[in-house]
Symmetry: C2
Subunit: 245 residues, 2 copies
Amino acid sequence: MQKQLHPNISVDCVIFGFDFEKLNVLLVERTYLHPETKEVIFSDYTLAGNHVYVDENLVDAAKRVLNNLTGLDNIYLEQFYAPEDPGRLLKKNDQLWLKKEGKNPEERVVSVCYFSLLNCKEVSIQKKDRNVDWHPISEIRNLGFDHDIILAQALKSLQVKLQNEPIGYEMLPLKFTLSQLQKLYEVVFDMEFDKRNFRKKVSKMKYLIQLDEKQKGVSHKPARYYIFSRDVYEKTKSDILNFSV
Amino acid sequence: MQKQLHPNISVDCVIFGFDFEKLNVLLVERTYLHPETKEVIFSDYTLAGNHVYVDENLVDAAKRVLNNLTGLDNIYLEQFYAPEDPGRLLKKNDQLWLKKEGKNPEERVVSVCYFSLLNCKEVSIQKKDRNVDWHPISEIRNLGFDHDIILAQALKSLQVKLQNEPIGYEMLPLKFTLSQLQKLYEVVFDMEFDKRNFRKKVSKMKYLIQLDEKQKGVSHKPARYYIFSRDVYEKTKSDILNFSV
DNA sequence: ACAAAAGTGTTTGTAATACACCCATGA
DNA sequence: TCATGGGTGTATTACAAACACTTTTGT
């Protein structure tokens, strides 16, 4: 008879942010100094995460992490993965770090992972004592713990979700231009689209509503603003599935 | 400072089975008898699940559940969800049941859920002392615990996955006919497809390979057998994504 | 000979792709 | 007047959808 597991539970959040140019992820710096000499032993980045409290809903724990970093509530959150490997925190640097943080490095931690979507320009990151910042997804590598794996899963889940639901609006301001929307799809899928074909495609989306208002103060022809209507979307969406492969 | 959670961890498995006619799910009967009078207080069904052992990979725990029920290894397994609500086991019947099973009904259990795919005709369910059996998905309701929610999520995940990857073959024998394949897609998506259009579509899938062998002993024109070639699939698949919505 | 499912083509509409120029604004 | 990004249309090709009859087998 094997012993049952009673691990610590945490949530890890892959916080995607779009800045109208590229897709970013919010990372927390992790710098480990030698206990005596204070020289830098290693320095890298991790995703944001936190432990789950007794009687706390998992998604509420993720909301807490988000609120802590941004001061915002009502951020789009989507659960996408739970790492499976019991050895996920056993790399040397991770063990050093956990010890330093006053945690038991031997203890297993089961994480449930969420991704969330933000517009970088509209949030101010609450740094507090931490060094937290946006990093372009194309430049991220060698994250701490198993966070490279989690991030790769998150991106794939975001792509699948964005392919099937209009969640891109979560990463844009209320009013946005079609070029901004196109750029968003381009950076998420890491592909370029033809402007005319893109506009033809989105013009079929009834829930994308053109405003009379235009950009101001730009040194080129001002673009029209659009808004996303969740209302129209909910009323007109169909559940038709289409196996493609 | 809130107290950190150290819950029990379990895996729940939504075991889908195709019997060439409908989509089924493997359920375990749960009958609670009055401790003295032995009259039936309630009787319902739950998904298969089990606790995770210390140092056990989560997916290995799910494999253990599967192996326990079917005697098989190497079954297709896909993690899809972790229920978030701390109150997921607090319904009256569930509490009675947990007590009867010698568990602490107050203890929080965090589950990670997997779905798996089988061909009903090719597995023999190892019942042991339990009443375990296939149930047509269209007839399943009022499962124990929060398993209705888990099942609904599983079906949606299966649909999304089947739409994007040729995993249907996991629910068919090695050799299958196109009508069987079509029926599989029909029961998963709960839609009917036109035979000619379906065949036109799958004829574009290079990894679907026609054999010379035909059905035998059927009282109608015998159908040709096909096999799925994972090899060809891996070599020819493209990652092109296509946002539709 | 009959019942049962297998197998097969054409037409029509809609969506995907490729491609190039003029427009409105601020500097 | 120039630089910048906004905005637009057409032709071609590929895929989706609708639809009915003949074939092969066992009984």
